[in-house]
């Protein structure tokens, strides 16, 4: 007997009841957040100064306001002839039950050309990571190493997605504007904080991802190329966190000093708490419009240099999406216009989500049957060379269910 849904249903029902009870208060905080957004838009400099006075004493991630707060930009006309590129990856991960320590990354890529000579190229490239150098990150100046699995494998996958996208961009017809899309955030959140030692950041960010972004930037000097990542249904609160600073009655704002130990919705800034940026901009942006550009304040982004991440919110009709761009692209009005108009056009063609991303996901996806087949191929290859594919009894038991 597996999951007893009838038992879970009772808990689901009571969860829905609690959400319903909290809905009125939530709506009040959203109204307040929208009012603060408009009010602060008129005194941006004062808000910026308050944010600066708070500095690291504000423990929320606060969006940088270099481009306004409540600005709305209508959709520019999308060029009729353009190229949309997409790259997305998936992975088969070894666990402690599998016979060999190896990973498989599968990166799906899509080139879609629109206009006078429409066409499409869909592809996927598997990459087997099995060498020691692929399976761990070593500290070049010491003897330490960190296994490349779980979240770090996700980082490696992101790097491969960037590389694949760069290759597509290089091969795109040079005369056409190009939007190169990635799924999710440009910020490698996994590497922020203290979860990993610095040599991991140096290996995966400084020596792997950033050089790829350098090459993107170089390519974008010779052709119209807007690199952007697209986040559907974003849960981020960077802009709302900025409004929290505006609502803070303390001077300078200092979260730990004034509000440590206060419970949920007990802090003064909780007047706008629980609101997501997408809710905030849902009431502001008309379909097709984008917000101002904001700066990501993630600590890891400080290492990105000229690739520091900026973002805007975009009303694509069905939802508010978040579009992130490296700073060199976000600083170019033409590239922002391209990202804006083409992300929107991709969503229109893709029933609410960029076609280049949905199709690259389809190319990348690894089905459960593929996963099983992959491990069978590994076992067969080992067997052909007289190597015994040892696996755990637990794994065998799962694969050969018996009565």
């Amino acid at each position: 007997m597996g999951l007893d849904l009838s038992r879970a249903a009772r808990d689901i029902d009571s969860m829905a009841g609690r959400l319903h009870d909290g809905a009125a208060a939530q709506a009040g905080r959203l109204t307040r957040a929208r009012a603060v957004l408009q009010a602060q838009d008129a005194r941006l400099d004062a808000l910026r100064e308050k944010v600066n006075r708070g500095g690291d004493r504000v423990t929320f991630l606060v969006a940088g306001l270099s481009d306004g707060l409540a600005a709305r930009h209508p959709a520019p006309d999308a060029p009729s002839d353009y190229v949309a590129l997409g790259a997305d990856g998936s992975q088969i991960e070894a666990d402690r039950h599998t016979p060999v320590a190896c990973f498989l990354l599968n990166v799906g890529t899509v080139t879609l050309r629109y206009g006078d000579a429409p066409g499409a190229t869909l592809d996927s490239v598997p990459l087997l990571l099995a060498d020691a150098a692929d399976l761990e990150v070593r500290d070049p100046s010491g003897s330490r190493s960190v296994r490349l699995d779980g979240p770090l494998l996700g980082v490696r996958r992101a790097i491969e997605e960037h590389r694949a996208l760069l290759e597509l961009a290089r091969r795109a017809p040079p005369e056409l504007p190009v939007v190169a899309l990635l799924d999710g955030s440009l910020v490698l959140w996994t590497l922020s904080g203290q979860a990993y030692p610095d040599f991991v950041r140096e290996a995966l960010l400084d020596r792997a991802l950033l050089p790829v972004l350098d090459e993107f930037a170089a390519l974008a000097r010779s052709r119209p190329l807007a690199l952007a990542s697209y986040i559907s249904y974003p849960r981020s609160t960077d802009v709302v966190n900025t409004l929290r600073v505006a609502e803070c009655p303390y001077e300078p704002p200092d979260c730990d000093r004034h509000c440590a130990g206060r419970g949920a919705f007990q802090r003064p800034c909780d007047s706008v708490g629980g609101v997501l940026d997408r809710d905030l901009f849902g009431g502001l942006l008309a379909p097709g419009e984008r917000s101002a550009l904001f700066d990501s304040a993630s600590s890891i982004v400080r290492r990105y240099g000229r690739h520091a991440v900026r973002f805007f919110y975009l009303n694509v009709g069905d939802e508010i999406a978040r579009v992130e761009m490296p700073q060199w692209a976000a600083d170019s009005p033409r590239l922002v216009e391209l990202a804006h108009s083409l992300a929107l056009d991709q969503c229109k063609r893709g029933r609410g989500y960029p076609v280049a991303l949905s199709e690259s996901h389809e190319q990348a996806v690894v089905h459960e049957a593929d996963r099983e087949q992959f491990w069978r191929l590994v076992e067969n290859a080992l067997a052909r060379r007289g190597l015994r594919a040892e696996t755990s009894a637990k794994s065998t038991s799962k694969r050969t269910r018996w009565l």
Binding site: V110, L112, R113, Y114, P118, G119, A120, T121, L122, R349, R351, V355, E359, E362
Partner: protein, 198 residues
């Protein structure tokens, strides 16, 4: 009769003794019902008759949806969504009706089916003419265990007739052969004859 005039249309992707499936190179590029195909297999090509075609999503889990409400033409739907051409495949089902055996043409099932990925070509008229000098293969179509066997039989006769200089004489000969095959079932016979009448 395996010269360059034959147009290659696809490859065998499923092979059985009596039938095979062709993945067509062109989306919606299936050969016509009843047309004669040749699946190359070195020195012993297999001849077959198109018994049906289908265009389906490559991924069984993805269903096509209507996309053209605001488009002016069907062509515009494809231009606006260039990926579509990569996401569907057109397949043709073929019934084996004979094979080449050295210099001879045999009008019964081949000793083995064509290989997977065998190239499949549409037979040019002279090859159809040569193969249909004998109509013994019509029995294979008349007895094929498919719901549309009568239509396939009639379509095949029409296709073959178009390759013959004396179309009328061919139709008479094919009509007589059909009568011999289906004589016991007058209703079926009449159905087929109505569909091959000039």
């Amino acid at each position: 009769m395996t010269g360059d005039a034959a147009k290659r249309i696809g490859e065998v992707v499923l092979a059985e003794s009596a039938r095979f499936t062709v993945h067509c190179y062109d989306l919606h590029g299936a050969p016509p019902l009843g047309a004669f195909l040749r699946a190359s297999d070195g020195h012993a090509p297999v001849y077959a008759v198109v018994a049906g075609a289908s265009t389906v999503s490559i991924d069984a889990g993805r269903r096509p949806v209507a996309l053209g409400e605001e488009e002016e033409s069907e062509e515009a739907v494809y231009r606006r969504n260039p990926q579509l051409a990569q996401l569907f495949r057109t397949e043709a089902q073929a019934l084996a009706v004979g094979f080449r055996d050295g210099d001879a043409l045999r009008h019964y099932l081949p000793p083995r089916p064509p290989r997977i990925h065998a190239f499949v070509s549409l037979c040019p008229p002279e090859e159809v003419r040569a193969f249909t000098q004998s109509l013994d293969f019509l029995a294979l179509l008349a007895n094929a265990p498919i719901p549309s066997a009568d239509d396939v039989l009639a379509a095949c006769v029409r296709e073959a007739a178009a390759a013959h200089d004396d179309r009328h004489a061919f139709l008479l000969r094919a009509g007589r052969e059909t009568a011999r095959l289906l004589g016991a079932d007058v209703q079926r016979l009449m159905t087929v004859l109505k569909r091959i009448r000039p």
